[in-house]
């Protein structure tokens, strides 16, 4: 059977055979989530994704969003799946049931999210951002705010956004100029302009709640003077229903390279009349609050990038099996050689195994990080909790930047496998590539992620999270050494892990020396090599699980398990040497980057 979006067998492998997710059901918090329930949740998510969301992907791209008379209209086909998604109560999968969430383990939500996001990312951004806005209200809202907003957001009845960016305040949010003036009744009047607001206006929901960063009159400059406000599109009546317009005006929408189905709006607050906002959380603590949403959004963005990659990979494999072109290399001199499907050609096969290696590695990273969140929730003491949290913080920039960068490359290979057909709009591959590009830019560019890794996360808590990560890798390495066939792989991996430790130490030292700029010039490549070693770790882990099962596996599983070992071997034996080479480059401090005069870029 042709699969769509994601390889179900591999999803099951990660959840059940690597992470043993059903073990969480031993804890009261997740007692409902045994293996059968986990499987059923994914099956139903898959059903909804494939039957209702996936068919809207091309329409989203071709029709896009339309701004007419100040109102954005999303592609017509989005309305039905949005209704089904909300009715199915998929918006708040992991949240506390007390606030209308479903209390699902995050690792499982990652698997369901993969199906949804892979089916149509532009569409999923509407409920995704809505959830993020809800999470802010759950974390920082007063009881009254929770009552007014939370259920409406977590059910998708109202939409949500995230309003940070302004024309002069992009990566540097502290430069924003939107202001808030205190009113007598405790509310604030908001004035200013925001741009690049995903889902900033749409006609899917009866109201939209904008969490807006603004500076209260007289507050300090920079990020220290920023507060967070809840600004609804329509003022809220006493009975909780949407009322009069709140002077949030959509002044334009962007024409973009991809994600046409998701509107990217310019919003003007309070230009034509009073725009009322409620303070969310404490005054001048807006950035800290917004980071809650941003961290979620970073993981979500990693998932988005990955969603494109997994879909592109599955399409490429299906296509390569069906497309007959050229003859078998070994039979090309026969009199009447038969044409073969292109998956038989070594170069196509190489592209597919490379795509597979990244896709499966990234899937593991996403689900594994999800599981870390679940372990934080289940941790019995503070030390354990801090350990898992440290790993999450360390992995977040890697997950965001590495997954989105590699996914873009996977999508490019996904086009290549199709040849000329990959380049034309009749097939989905080129859209996936265009859509994917934004993921390395928004929610903190990948350059920002690399700076976060080097400047904050690497040395955080005296480097403990990083050491913990290497410790986890060493456990897998030890397990691999117990399996005879995996010893060579384990040894190669060991070399890479040790070298990564050295390089990290070198990078940390350089960042603290007068060569700090050199260190940051190398931050992104450092993130890349760290990501590569993480991928290698997961592949070795996969091989450790799969190798002993090959012999006794059911017929249908034999090839799958062999594939796990081969993919690990491919990644560790064929790809990892490149990573070691890059590490050698990193220890040279990338000196030419900063040495070359700025004037030399164009002579």
């Amino acid at each position: 059977m042709a699969q769509h979006i994601a390889d179900r067998r591999d999803q099951d492998f990660v959840l059940h055979e690597m992470l043993n997710l059903a073990d969480l059901s031993k804890h009261e918090r997740f007692e409902d989530f045994n293996k059968k329930t986990i499987d059923m949740v994914i099956t139903e998510a898959r059903n909804l994704a494939i039957k209702e969301i996936l068919p809207t992907q091309a329409e989203g791209d071709e029709v896009g969003c339309i701004l007419k008379d100040g109102q954005v209209h999303v592609p017509e086909g989005f309305h039905k799946p949005y209704r089904l998604f909300c009715e199915g109560e998929w918006v708040a999968m992991c949240d506390d049931p007390e606030y209308g969430g479903q209390g699902m383990p995050k690792a499982l939500a990652m698997a369901a999210g993969e199906m949804f996001t892979g089916a149509n990312c532009s569409f999923m951004m509407y409920p995704g951002l809505t959830h993020g806005a809800g999470k802010l209200v759950e974390e920082f809202g007063t009881d009254a705010q929770k009552k007014t907003y939370l259920a409406n957001l977590y059910t998708g009845k109202w939409g949500g956004t995230m309003c940070l960016t302004e024309p002069e305040a992009g990566s540097d949010v502290g430069a924003l100029s939107t202001t808030a003036v205190r009113n007598d009744d405790g509310t604030f009047s908001i004035t200013g302009n925001k741009i690049f607001i995903s889902g900033g206006d749409q006609d899917l929901t009866e109201n939209i709640v904008h969490p807006v960063l603004a500076r209260i009159e007289g507050a300090p400059a920079g990020t220290k003077g920023i507060s967070l406000f809840l600004v609804p599109k329509y003022k809220i009546n006493e009975d909780g229903t949407p009322g009069e317009p709140n002077n949030v005006e959509c002044t334009g929408i962007e024409k973009k390279m991809g994600i046409h189905g998701n509107t990217t709006a310019s919003l003007s607050f309070g230009a034509k009349g009073t725009c009322i906002g409620e303070l969310l959380g404490e005054e001048n603590k807006g950035m800290k609050a917004m980071f809650v949403m941003m961290n979620e959004a970073r993981l979500g963005t990693g998932m988005q990038g990955f969603g494109f990659a997994t879909a592109s990979y599955i399409n490429a494999v299906n296509y390569a099996k069906e497309r007959v072109q050229g003859t078998d290399l070994l039979k090309m001199f026969d009199k009447n050689p038969q044409s073969v499907s292109i998956i038989k050609h070594p170069d196509v096969r190489r592209q597919l195994i490379s795509m597979k290696a990244y896709v499966e590695g990234m899937r593991t990273l996403l689900y594994y990080t999800g599981l870390l969140f679940d372990k934080v929730n289940l941790a019995e003491d503070e030390k354990e909790k801090a350990r898992y949290k440290g790993l999450i913080e360390l992995l977040t920039p890697i997950l965001k930047a590495y997954c989105t960068d590699r996914s873009f490359e996977v999508c490019a290979q996904g086009i290549q496998v199709y040849g000329g057909y990959g380049y034309i709009r009749e097939y989905p591959q080129e859209q996936l590539l265009r859509d994917c590009k934004i993921t390395s830019i928004y929610e903190g560019t990948n350059g920002i992620q690399a700076m976060d890794l080097l400047g904050r996360k690497l040395g955080m808590n005296k480097g403990k999270p990083f050491m913990d990560l290497l410790g986890e890798m060493n456990k897998t390495m030890a397990a691999a050494k117990e399996i005879e066939t995996l010893v060579p792989m384990a040894e190669k991996f060991e070399t890479a892990v040790n070298r990564l430790g050295e390089v990290a130490m070198h990078m940390g030292m350089t960042a603290m020396s007068e060569q700090v700029l050199n260190a940051f010039a190398a931050a992104h490549p450092f993130l890349d090599v760290t990501g590569d070693v993480v991928m290698a770790w997961f592949h070795l882990w996969r091989a450790v699980v799969a190798a002993p099962k090959i012999e006794k596996a059911k017929k249908k599983d034999v090839a799958y398990y062999q594939g796990q070992v081969s993919t690990a071997d491919y990644f560790i034996t064929c790809q990892l040497p490149t990573t070691l080479g890059k590490m050698n480059g990193l220890t040279t401090n990338y000196t030419p980057v900063m040495e070359m005069p700025e004037a030399a870029f164009i002579g």
Partner: protein, 256 residues
């Protein structure tokens, strides 16, 4: 209102079926679903009960693996399930009807019974009639529109050429549902969770006094549908192509 919905555990229509031996297939390798026509019946039953109150009970006759299919049906809103378990992959429809009747009799009479108009695996479209005969109930198949008014069901069914037949049936009775009757729902997340805790009453077909190997018909052989030969491209001017087409239709295919 108590409603039974008979559902069948069938391979997904998109599944790649691998035949095993003369009359079996590899069922551990393919995905199973609720027979799509039965879903229309289930949706109708669940909506009726949502409006009028009562209980929807799904009943299936099939192998142990059908449990997953029953759970899906319960996630769509059935309150509980009855599973008559068989060993074999295929059961003759006389026996299926007998088993369904026995299981329903044990559970107690219902006001209405839904089936699909047929199953997408064997496409026998026999069971609803045999069940009706066995239970002494009226039956209408291929129903695409339904109104229940007290003890009477008014139904429409397509009879070809865009015409519809309108029928009335006293209740209790059996309705074979088909496409058009409604749009089956996607299970809500909380209903998926609840489905796990709903009760499935299991019984072996033998315990109902039925020998599953004693059917009135026997499945002799399963064969893959032969692949169609490739399309023929006709070349030349329009006149030449038409002449060739007529020749093909007359001499090769013997259609005209």
């Amino acid at each position: 209102m108590k409603i039974f919905v008979c559902i069948k555990h069938v391979p997904d229509t998109a599944a790649n079926i691998k035949l095993v031996g003369d009359n079996g297939f590899e069922d551990s390798e393919c995905k199973f679903i609720v027979n799509p026509y039965d879903e229309y019946g289930l949706e109708e039953a669940v909506s009726l009960v949502e409006k009028e109150g009562g209980e929807v009970v799904v009943v299936t006759v099939g192998k142990g693996a059908a449990t997953a299919t029953l759970r899906s049906a319960m996630a769509m809103g059935a309150a509980r399930a009855i599973h008559v378990q068989t060993q074999g992959q295929f059961l003759d429809s006389t026996l299926t009807a007998k088993a369904l009747k026995a299981a329903m009799d044990q559970d107690g009479a219902a006001d209405l019974i839904f089936t699909g108009k047929g199953s997408v695996d064997t496409e026998g479209a026999q069971t609803q009639y045999r069940l009706a005969a066995a239970m002494g109930l009226p039956v209408v198949n291929e129903v695409s529109r339904l109104t229940i008014d007290g003890q009477k069901a008014t139904m429409e069914k397509e009879i070809g050429g865009g015409e519809r037949e309108v029928l009335e049936m006293p209740l209790p009775g059996i309705i074979g549902a088909t496409k058009g009757l409604n749009e089956p729902r996607y299970p809500k997340f909380p209903d998926i969770m609840k489905a796990k805790k709903k009760k499935i009453q299991e019984m072996a077909i033998g315990d109902l006094g039925i020998d599953e190997n004693a059917g009135a018909s026997q499945l002799v052989k399963l064969e893959a549908v032969p692949e169609r030969s490739g399309a023929k491209m006709l070349e030349g001017s329009v006149q030449e192509q038409v002449a060739q087409l007529i020749k093909v239709l007359r001499e090769d295919e013997k259609i005209i």
